[in-house]
Subunit: 319 residues, 2 copies
């Protein structure tokens, strides 16, 4: 079975571990979000790709779900001594090695997809990890100050430094000229199942969909596209999805509202949490098959069960 | 008093500490060797400039005379895990922060002299530290294999990886088009005294002299130029000066031979060790004033005494 998953960072990588446990013989391709990517201290940092790579490759800091286990921060402490910012984004020493290898390869002319493959040669994540695009398509957030003045900040500044204040709109800078990375469209066209993990629908999966061609490929794919709600009740399970949903015109924070935001042309099936079972009828009325199952990734078994439920729904949709 | 010193790495920086102790009120400008500079993992590394900066700024590893105190090597260990070489040159974590700041500024278009000034704003070395040139003038070593085939290696590879085998010749790649960094020629012209610490005459001071204009400025300087022999007896005090002296046609490893290599048009005074007192007459016969004093930098006091002896000889030459 060929499974193609669109993934953000922490939530996506946790779900992928469950997926690999649920379908150990599947060939899994992951289309990773690159909208969060940022250049810091001259180093190209790809937080979501690295989170997937470290998490599936056994290098992740399990407690926080991102960054390296047993990390140290000698370089960051020295950069602070030099007074070189930003002070709101701290790179760990082990992590920096990844960025050094990546930056050197990018500077030598290799596309990000080739760099990611080279890094994965060490980590052996058990999936084929593809960046959504080799081009720059950065997620920026437009904020409106109290006096109505607007300013744009990089997603990382919005998220890490500003802690996700109310956003006016989201802009994927450069996305309109970006092309899907080699293999991305084929991975969608040749998939038996496409999955949307419970990642942020706007700044994780939405940033992937912003690359021209990817949404169209998903819409025309013969494979069922099944997603898992990142919202349980009226709040995101993790992160601040509610803050960015409003910025794309979704004023209601609910599993059903996210399904409607994706829409039936994109989404064939949708899993909501048991707590949101009463929303299933609304989702189905929108033309999306819906099931209610436990959606909290509280441990490996629970996460594998979620992945199995998604694959079951996909199988049902294929009949 | 304005003192301008030409400096290599470890020996140069140790001497400079003695100089600052001997002449605490002097304005000292250091013209640093950049021939050893190398790009590793995409980072621009300037070993000699950093050795001076760390040594005079209180950050040096006192035992080895180069690199940072309390250094860690998490990044290097990770780079090794990625299989990314070279494995014969290990960058410490704290040191990497310096190279990140430098590389980012160079990439932004700042010349090395401006970058060095910015780094020194943190370290406050008590001297004005100037690179010999902002241009690339890298020391490469030509080696002849047993079968007569020649190959060129970067100085760092020659020194660190190959441990200084017999060299056929030395080439300062790019030096012919290099220009002295801003301030270098003025520092020579306006100096009251110019000093050559007991650094390697070929690959440290020689690499500085290879930048067109610097040798000429020293030769026409009104200030006395006084050097200290890096050779005591028939061996270099530190490093492998004998190996590279042969490559520039100096077959004899002695204090007098180094003085003759510099020559009287460049050098006005020369200090040899007491053990080499019998060579003084030969040096003087070559037109260079010579004194024999203790030249082992065994501690801060001995080093300061050496600096005082050099300044005394300079004062004598000015009369």
């Amino acid at each position: 079975m060929r499974i193609t998953a669109v993934a953000g960072g922490v939530g996506g990588s946790r779900f992928l571990r469950g997926l690999l446990a649920a379908a150990p013989r599947a060939q899994v391709t992951v289309i990773g979000n690159v909208g969060d990517d940022i250049t810091l201290h001259g180093l190209r940092v790809c937080p979501d790709l690295d989170t997937v790579m470290y998490a599936l490759g056994g290098g992740i800091h399990e407690g926080q779900g991102w960054g390296r286990a047993d990390e140290t921060f000698a370089v960051a402490a020295e950069l602070a001594e030099y007074g070189v910012g930003p002070d709101w984004f701290t790179l760990g020493d082990r992590d920096i090695a990844t960025h050094l290898v990546r930056t050197q390869m990018l500077d030598a002319g290799y596309p990000l997809s080739a760099v990611t493959e080279a890094l994965c040669a060490r980590w052996k994540p058990g999936v084929r990890l593809l960046p959504a695009t080799d081009d720059r398509a950065e997620t920026h957030v437009i904020l409106a100050d109290d006096d109505g003045k607007r300013r744009a900040v990089h997603f990382q500044e919005y998220w890490v430094r500003l802690h996700a204040p109310q956003a006016e709109s989201i802009v994927f800078v450069g996305a309109e000229k970006a092309q899907p990375a080699p293999g991305v469209l084929d991975a969608i066209a040749e998939a038996d199942v496409v999955l949307f993990p419970p990642s942020n629908p706007v700044v994780s999966i939405g940033a992937v969909l912003a690359v021209p061609g990817i949404r169209e490929a998903l819409e025309s794919s013969a494979a069922p596209v099944v997603g898992l709600s990142p919202i349980i009740g009226s709040a995101p399970v993790r992160g601040m999805a509610d803050k960015v949903l409003a910025a794309v015109g979704v004023s209601e924070t609910s599993a059903a509202a996210v399904a409607e935001y994706y829409g039936p042309s994109l989404l064939d099936g949708w899993l909501v949490d048991e707590a949101d079972a009463q929303q299933a009828a609304r989702v189905e009325a929108a033309g999306i098959r819906c099931r209610a199952v436990p959606l909290l990734m509280r441990d490996a078994d629970a996460t594998a069960a979620m992945a199995r439920a998604a694959l079951d729904l996909a199988a049902e949709l294929k009949r």
